[in-house]
Amino acid sequence: MIPGRFDYYRPSSAQEAVALLAKLGEDARPLAGGHSLIPVMKTRLAAPEHLIDLGGIADLRGVKVEGDTVVIGAMTTQHDLLTSKVIAEHLPIIPETSALIADPQIRYLGTLGGNVANGDPGNDMPALMMCLDATFTVLGAGGERTIKAREFYLGTYYTALETGEIVTSIRIKAMSKATGYAYEKLKRKVGDYATAAAAVVLSVSGGKCTSAAIGLTNVAETPLLAEDAAAALVGSSLDKVAIDKAVAAAEAITNPAHDARGTPQYRTKMAGVMLRRAIARAMTRAHG
């Protein structure tokens, strides 16, 4: 539990950070809250020679509204998300999710950017970002570009980020007040990854579901956007038949690992149970 030797840098701007990453190459890693990277360094599963701490870059932290879009700095912490009035008003599913991540001490340090950029399917925010159709702004030595969350996750710890790029902000369209939402997570204890979790946002009009999006956490190599499951809900009256169909469609795309949280079969079924419960709760919140 003792990491190997590394050099530590604390740049004060995102430009400076990506310049350092470009200069130091493959052996450098950006450090956000550190709750994923530092444990793997301590077990020596990762041994970066250079750590670029993004914690000193003030521009990367904070929440603002641009038109109908909420822009969240990558270094905004889970605690910031839990206490932000803007987030509570426009994206209330985010604090509902943040509250289920780890414990207060970790939430003071853990960041949204770190959570989404790490590529760990056990993290809660990636599936939620896919569900909300978020867009990540990334910066590299070659300049800035945007990547849709739904196109970001390619494999376990494997994302669309190029070497030397960092996520600088996350842009999400504000939810309408009439939107129903819920994040349901099954975990063994505080601080544990999800056995399975489901994020649901849906709209209802005239008794029919008019739109729906579903994200699933920790039940495959990547976070999942359950498109067929969502499609099964749209146009329905969110009756048992439609929900059964959605659950079956969600279970069909999972491929969880066998670990201390359970067997693949169990975790698949729990994805279904969490989805069922999230839909039920989202329905009670949806207006229209």
Partner: protein, 806 residues
């Protein structure tokens, strides 16, 4: 006398003696982060050791190349088994009469076994250099399943034992066999079972788990080559035994070895044994003449030092149709891992597992235990329990529930019907123990009434009907556990560690001003000895507890004792404390009589003083007597006021308790919620009710963890898959149920103050209560016996098997 004169009650209260909810004095430093642990000790020139460990569970070592590590700046030495051979420390004896490799000698037998010890100038260099030690392995067939250990074609693990048909505990029948141990009347038991009107037979497993104390195992060895003295600081539950073993192994005279156990951050049995890290730190310091520290990390702790349990207990009970038990037969397959390093009294290869008849009046019983080797870490420690008592209590408490179900009886009623009755004590059990005292029916009745047991059963029945009608997806379980422990090892006629009898000791010295220092042979790891021993002395000697300092853990100053584990501190050292105090009081009586100018027989004890019989205003307080002990003693008497007692207990003590768990299970997720948990403990005389409640809270929390998912699990390649706290279930306050504590008091008749010990009861009693609750919830669906641990996914699988998700 005037209005300001304190009353007798006020004088007694001021002492903060036995029965007082005295606040823990050690918490003043612990809550401020001022405890002194091994890793807080820093010596000039101190070096650090770290282990190269095996990635394989079973492999031959073809070659070790340490040249690259030795070439690294800051690396002082790299030890392998070859380096330890000249000093004959490549293997070491275990407490169970086996031998264990200190560093891998030719092969490795479990994953994360110690292969080489790197000593460097700092901890970081030591860790870096471990990666540079090149070890060439040849993988061998791995044996993980204890049920396959004795198959004819099972791989041979212990080549060092080849041809040895006798082990420390008798015949070995197979190359992976360690011992066979039997107690009881086999023929009579077989007859009872075959004639039983009703019988049950079930294989009840208690899975492998780990004590996982917050502070891991650590040691700091410092050899002074000029004086020829070795000082060893370490996380030792039994420091005196460590000193004796260190002397026997090293040849250094015992007087020149100073073993110091400073503050310890939890032990739970994990810190009883001697580990390769201790030995390597000592050897390193002896060879280099510099202090060498070894600090285990969390993953090393979970995977290499001291698992607990791993008992697989095939259990048969026979009974009459009316539910009176007639016989008990248990066969245990005990998985000991790669070496038999169980921390049991030397003559007891399966500890006190023969307490398996529990709280019930079995006319006949037979217990047979076979120990086997597998490619897993050694250990088999008593994780917050007396030796193998938790396994035995789980076995009988689960089995009684299975029998109740077969008989169609309520599990509480079945227990009530078969209890050993109060008038039967002292009770001779069918497996050889003499239970000292108990009143089981009163305790269970109190528990059932407090929790309103009959109403809960009614509610359960209604819920079952509602579940069958599809109105709820929750089922309700009520788990009853009535345990009898056997603690306070033990009488030296049948209990020893490596030949040293399991007495314990106390030395009390009263200073001229009436303050006291007392030292014991035990060692607190969080049990609040500094608080509670002082309370015993306060009551016995009439000196305020706040003026009494308790010191443990330094073998230079403390009298020899066997340490703290198996709930033995109060039953053994607590008795020694009372007896030493009584020697002092006897002398004080003579001094008092001398000062009061009356005969010894004309004074009587009164809370904090001796007074003249019939003249209560004529008295000498203990403070006055203490002063006189140093300047005005009767002619011919030695001055001073101190005493030592080595207490060899006449018997064990037998604490007991009634635990009831009420649980609701969501069959769709398998998640179990504990609605209520009631714990009634009878530990005899209660020294500090607050400390007792704290012990019960802690032990129940561990029991909850174990029953509901805490395990050490291996894959088929022998990789430990629960080697970090991400996977090994350690509950937080959020998951932990609320505990309702209660008590009855049945003093031990043979203990000077009637106390029995309580530290381990809650772990012993709570595990079956939780497991029985889960089993009870599914019983109306005829689920059969459900093995622990009851994590959500396994519970869900039971529901799935029963078709509850269709």
């Amino acid at each position: 006398m005037n209005d300001m004169t304190p009353t007798r009650e006020e004088r007694a209260e001021k002492l903060q003696g036995m029965g007082c909810r005295r606040k823990r004095v050690e918490d003043i430093r612990f809550t401020q982060g001022k405890g002194q642990y091994v890793d807080d000790i820093k010596l000039p020139g101190m070096l650090f050791g770290d282990f190269v460990r095996s990635p394989y569970a079973h492999a031959r070592i073809k070659h070790i190349d340490k040249s690259k590590a030795l070439a690294m700046k800051g690396v002082i030495a790299v030890l392998t088994a070859e380096d330890l051979k000249p000093v004959k420390l490549d293997w070491m004896p275990t407490l169970a009469g086996d031998v264990q490799m200190v560093l891998a000698d030719g092969k490795v037998l479990f994953q994360n076994q110690e292969v080489a010890f790197v000593i460097a100038e700092d901890r970081y260099i030591a860790s870096d250099a471990c990666e540079l030690v090149e070890v060439e392995y040849e993988a061998l067939e791995v044996l993980v399943d204890p049920f396959k250990a004795l198959a004819p074609n099972a791989p041979e693990l212990r080549e060092d034992l080849r041809g040895k048909t006798e082990g420390a505990h008798g015949k070995r029948i197979h190359h992976n066999h360690i011992f066979n141990w039997q107690v009881g009347d086999k023929a009579a038991t077989d007859a009872a079972i075959s004639n039983g009107e009703v019988t049950i037979k079930e294989m009840i497993s208690y899975h492998r788990t780990h004590p996982c104390p917050l502070e891991t195992c650590q040691a700091l060895a410092s050899m002074d080559k000029i004086k020829g003295e070795l000082t060893l600081w370490g996380t030792f539950q039994a420091p005196h035994v460590v000193r004796t073993v260190a002397s026997l192994l090293s040849g250094i005279p015992e007087a020149k070895i100073h073993v110091i156990a400073p503050d310890i951050g939890g032990g739970f049995g994990n810190k009883v044994g001697v580990y390769p890290g201790y030995v390597c730190a000592i050897v390193g310091s002896i060879v280099l003449g510099k202090p060498v520290k070894w600090v285990e990390d969390r993953m090393e702790n979970l995977t290499a030092t001291s698992f607990a349990r791993d008992y697989h207990m095939t259990t048969e009970i026979s009974a009459t149709k009316e539910g009176k038990v007639t016989g008990l037969k248990v066969h245990i397959l005990a998985d000991h891992g790669a070496f038999d390093a169980c921390a049991d009294p030397s003559k007891w290869p399966a500890g006190f597992a023969n307490i398996v008849t529990g709280s019930y009046d079995f006319p006949v019983a037979h217990l047979e235990v076979d120990g086997v080797y597998t490619n897993k870490a050694p250990g088999g420690v008593a994780y917050r329990c007396s030796f193998r008592v938790t396994e035995a209590a789980y076995c009988i408490e689960r089995a009684m529930d299975i029998l109740a179900q077969k008989l169609g009886m309520d599990p509480a009623d079945l227990r009530m019907k078969n209890f050993i009755q109060p008038q039967q004590f002292p009770y001779q059990s069918a497996l050889g123990w003499e239970y000292d005292s108990g009143d089981y029916p009163t305790a269970l009745k109190k528990g059932m009434e407090t929790i309103n047991y009959r109403a809960l059963r009614e509610e359960q029945k209604a819920k079952q009907e509602a579940f069958k009608r599809g109105e709820t997806r929750e089922i309700m379980g009520i788990g009853v556990s009535f345990f009898t422990e056997i603690v306070g090892a033990g009488p030296s006629r049948n209990c020893d560690i490596l030949g040293v009898g399991m007495f314990d000791s106390a030395e009390i010295r009263v200073h001229p001003t009436g303050s006291i220092i007392a030292r014991m042979g035990t060692k607190s790891q969080g049990q609040a000895h500094e608080t509670t021993y002082a309370q015993i002395i306060a009551t016995e000697l009439g000196i305020e507890a706040d003026k009494i300092m308790i010191e443990e853990g330094n073998t230079d100053t403390a009298p020899y004792g066997l340490g703290t584990y198996g709930s033995r501190s109060t039953p053994v050292a607590g008795a020694a404390t009372a007896m030493a105090a009584r020697k002092i009081r006897a002398k004080a009586q003579m001094i008092a009589a001398h000062l009061l100018e009356v005969s010894d027989y004309d004074v009587e004890w009164d809370i904090d003083r001796f007074r003249v019989k019939g003249l209560p205003e004529k008295f000498k307080t203990m403070t006055e007597i203490a002063w006189a002990a140093y300047n005005n003693v009767p002619e011919g008497m030695e001055p001073g006021l101190e005493a030592v007692n080595y207490y060899d207990p006449p018997n064990m003590t037998y604490p007991f308790g009634a635990y009831i768990c009420v649980m609701d299970i969501d069959v769709d997720t398998g998640v179990a919620k504990t609605r209520r948990f009631y714990a009634l403990d009878d530990c005899g005389t209660r020294i500090n009710p607050m400390v007792i409640e704290g012990q019960v809270h802690g032990g129940c929390t561990e029991g909850f963890a174990i029953a509901m998912g805490q395990e050490i699990r291996y894959d088929e390649m022998g990789n430990c898959v629960t080697g970090s706290l991400m996977d090994f279930f350690l509950p937080t306050a959020v998951e932990t149920p609320h505990w309702e504590t209660d008590f009855t008091v049945t003093p031990s008749p043979h203990h000077p103050i009637g106390a029995k010990g309580v530290g381990e009861s809650p772990n012993v009693g709570s595990v079956p209560a939780f497991s029985n609750a889960v089993n009870d919830a599914f019983a109306f669906l005829n689920a059969g016996h459900i093995q622990m641990p009851h994590d959500a996914w396994r519970t869900w699988e039971v529901a799935e098997r029963l078709g509850l998700h269709d």
